[in-house]
Symmetry: D2
Subunit: 339 residues, 4 copies
Amino acid sequence: MLGNTFGEHFRLTTFGESHGTSVGGVIDGCPAGLKIDFAMIDAELARRRGDGVEGTTERKESDQIEWQSGIMDGVTLGTPIAFLVRNGDTRSEDYDSLKEWQRAGHADYTYQKKYGIRDHRGGGRASARETVSRVIAGAIAKQLLANEGISIISETVVADLQSATSDNQTIGGKVRCNIYGVKPGIGEPVFNKLNARLAYAMMAIPSAVSFEMGAGLQATEMTGADYADRWNEVDVADFKSATTDELKQSSNQAITRTNHCGGVQGGISNGMPIEFTVGFHPVVTQIPITQCRNRAGEVQMIEIKGRHDRCHVSRVVVIVEAMAALTLIDFLTPNLSNH
Amino acid sequence: MLGNTFGEHFRLTTFGESHGTSVGGVIDGCPAGLKIDFAMIDAELARRRGDGVEGTTERKESDQIEWQSGIMDGVTLGTPIAFLVRNGDTRSEDYDSLKEWQRAGHADYTYQKKYGIRDHRGGGRASARETVSRVIAGAIAKQLLANEGISIISETVVADLQSATSDNQTIGGKVRCNIYGVKPGIGEPVFNKLNARLAYAMMAIPSAVSFEMGAGLQATEMTGADYADRWNEVDVADFKSATTDELKQSSNQAITRTNHCGGVQGGISNGMPIEFTVGFHPVVTQIPITQCRNRAGEVQMIEIKGRHDRCHVSRVVVIVEAMAALTLIDFLTPNLSNH
Amino acid sequence: MLGNTFGEHFRLTTFGESHGTSVGGVIDGCPAGLKIDFAMIDAELARRRGDGVEGTTERKESDQIEWQSGIMDGVTLGTPIAFLVRNGDTRSEDYDSLKEWQRAGHADYTYQKKYGIRDHRGGGRASARETVSRVIAGAIAKQLLANEGISIISETVVADLQSATSDNQTIGGKVRCNIYGVKPGIGEPVFNKLNARLAYAMMAIPSAVSFEMGAGLQATEMTGADYADRWNEVDVADFKSATTDELKQSSNQAITRTNHCGGVQGGISNGMPIEFTVGFHPVVTQIPITQCRNRAGEVQMIEIKGRHDRCHVSRVVVIVEAMAALTLIDFLTPNLSNH
Amino acid sequence: MLGNTFGEHFRLTTFGESHGTSVGGVIDGCPAGLKIDFAMIDAELARRRGDGVEGTTERKESDQIEWQSGIMDGVTLGTPIAFLVRNGDTRSEDYDSLKEWQRAGHADYTYQKKYGIRDHRGGGRASARETVSRVIAGAIAKQLLANEGISIISETVVADLQSATSDNQTIGGKVRCNIYGVKPGIGEPVFNKLNARLAYAMMAIPSAVSFEMGAGLQATEMTGADYADRWNEVDVADFKSATTDELKQSSNQAITRTNHCGGVQGGISNGMPIEFTVGFHPVVTQIPITQCRNRAGEVQMIEIKGRHDRCHVSRVVVIVEAMAALTLIDFLTPNLSNH
């Protein structure tokens, strides 16, 4: 099984190490005829960079996208869309000390064990820098979804970022994601349930540690009588033409009175908002000194000069949305017209 | 995307409706030369039936497996292993009332919306009866894993089953799963992380609502300094020849002092035990009367005669293990010899 | 890469050894709501058996299909369709001599090398008996294609069957296949060209040795000026409502004046009939005595008691059509409605 | 089904239009630790350009590869290898006349029908320019195969290139390919037969019209007694350490006396050389004037200023080898060590 491709119908393959020439991706399966909103993609990248957010990493890429193929005069051709973003602001020498040393809590050791070789600079392929490609592809997916009346809205649920940032500690947190406008019937039974694919997508985000569908862990403590989402007596609204506010206020139009299941029953959407929560562990790098291990098993404290977030969860929000968009568009693409 | 196949290298395709002729599956990719332990498979099926467990469903299938192919003289041939289990003890007439009515909290509505048709008898394809096939395939996967020194041990973490069963309420709960003996280097970076594939597999179990890797939700509230799993100064033990007790006691041999990450870093195993927790919502069927909806949107209380568990979580344990086994063997199969 | 599954969207997985319990298959992805014509499937199986054709194998199965799932009241549910056909008329003892001996020209040696074990009875998994499953699935595919106005018509192009059968020799031959009613736009560029997928499907038929698209080998000897299919000045007809005769006579309606390309340009259908030819080598079993080899490399002439065709090409016609149908429906399924 | 990815274990995804920014690809699954021979890759690209060959296209790219990822200090990391080659020498204005006109015999019409939009410049995605990416990936595959003792040697079988080139006609031809050193047991039964995968790969080359395995069409006219490859009494040689000359002369070491089957039985290699022949139709572009059609169905003769080969078959040889290498390495990769 290969690791760098996501999706079957709208298929993103990403590439790139943190301090290599570039990071980028190829999208196969994007329908032809989409007029790309490039400014929206740049805005999504700015959300990922955390522009203006306190406590985020000091490394500042300009994230200039170099489009290679699949787009002519701003419109998709139906052929593969390849793009790359150069790794400009690297300070690879910061990582020289890591050539021989594997940081505690990182993927340094596992990559070395798996491949017998690793790019030690800035985390290499395991760096969250790779998520640039997901955000770009996710932004295109969002544009396609918007045309189908689907919107994805996420936000952090994090206790106290300020206290964490003040004492040089890192902290994690949770992201709640709501997807509006998904019609009934999306998702596949048994193994490729919509909730199972979402869990897969979310746990593939660096530092993700938990996934909860709908009521999540609370559901494990409810009785069946309390948990079961009872029917309303009115039919589900056609969400396509509604605004987001209208969508949020349409609960009296909803097919069920509660939404403990998070909009998915038997792996298939029921027309209610898709709701889930993803938890993230804190950044594990200890600055300025991290415990490290070499291949002989010796352990030592090493000074790390790289730059890292104190709380990265606010930056993760757009990645959660991107992965949600990629998951949904993968189910929907076969039914989209090519032009 | 199709829903009924799990895995790429060790690939299970399941079929069957709850009240159809049979449920069963085809395994493609099982290495040749495995001498099947049929008694162990039967014992796993007995765990799934909950033989002797209070509060489980009254429907009792004998679960006689009819092997069709891929095995000669009890040894696998490397060709597809097809099997089926007939649906003997069905009382399809119990479900006649559901032809026109869709139960609250079930997949009746979503299947109808997706396919325009559904088998209303006993949940049809959405019934947990389908997991028979997963348990059979998972048992074969466990036998292969055992030959590689890997064992999977799960248990329920459920508050108070007895109180629930006494007052005719249904309850859910959690299952904790530990996998011993996985060497470093298993899992693929970026999208097919071992933890992401596990999350996908677990959320594909009926009634699953949450997945936590390692410390899970607790990790979202820890500081990075507390969360980071620090190195031990001794190398990881070769788990292959150890007994389960030895494995559990080998923490002083472990490569890290704690295991908050649950044995996976950067999506790749680090040689520590793989640990995760799965939460399940309670059975939603309200006995004897469940709220239902017809295609016109009318809502009514209907008497349901089918049989259902008051707490199904103890039966789910073996399914959690089966899906974990299928996930792991899918990563390992390319490296197994065919004979 | 696993061998026993064909297709991505309409996906057939087959199982079964020639002298095992049964041969059969699972179809995932068949749209819901198809009313199955069971008599037509039986008729296709009769074509495969060569009922009434001189020179075909004497083994006569009744080929009773036992449907397991995915169909209720004769209508597809959208869930996996599993079926099996028992291997009734086996004379496994005929093959006892082959336990230790590998026949020249067969797959006995290669299976043994690949798996370290093989089912020696009647060719095991390598037997053409396996194509029963393809014919059943192909018949369902044909029924779906017929609803889209697509028909597949094949015939043998074989020099002199009678002379071959009279002197106990086996001979091969060619099958020409024409597919009418495929609209422009079917097929994927670059690797999954419609012609490439057809070549793959055809060469996966036992004893296939050649594949020619359109003019085939003749095209390699033409000049570009002669080969290029020039435009007609009228637009392509909508083939959906036409009869087969009308389709054949509609050349004056065709979009091109000639059809050297066989209806595919750049890997994508152009609305002309899809035309290709498949060649088959003769049955290699020498009756009554075949040269064999054991694992030590010793060679000996062994008497084989199994039954084999003198010319199998007339029986292959329906398999060519089945594989063509499976190839086409795989491209078309995403665009078919589920009900 | 998506079109732009080839392979499951060693997986190439290509991108790029002929006159877009670049053509390129991403390889996922290349084992770590391969020291890349960059000069050999350049030499393969020179073969594709037909440097020094009379009658080939006048467009001369320098084909400078810009490596993006997956390689550090010339050694593969096991992570995706992304590369691109800029489209320098484009004269897009040559193709302005084709914006509204679709050339006879080309993919202009089918792309327009499929996508509702097309890049009309130089054939866009359908241009043979795309094969640059296949040759680069194929060269890496060859380097891996060479380490396993496998070599691929092809040559044209073309009647009279000179006569064709003298009178401004285009001609096609055939390429014969021989693969030495493949051990027994490679290939999968039933659908993913080695010969079926090779047919798929070859027919996915632009202008391919026929595929013959081993004796090919001749086999359709032989008797079974003549066709069957009889055993030699000596065991198959270990080809790994032999030179190509030794390989060719090792027929007395071969496991069979003849090789009509082309080294594959039951879809699985038998240790004999893999042999097949691919036919190609002539370049269809008529210079200087080609018949064209617009979307209204009007037909007209249009002057085409683009540059095209008179005989492209000699340039195709390296593409045949590349696709053969990609096919083989896809089967072998799971068994290769990562370092």
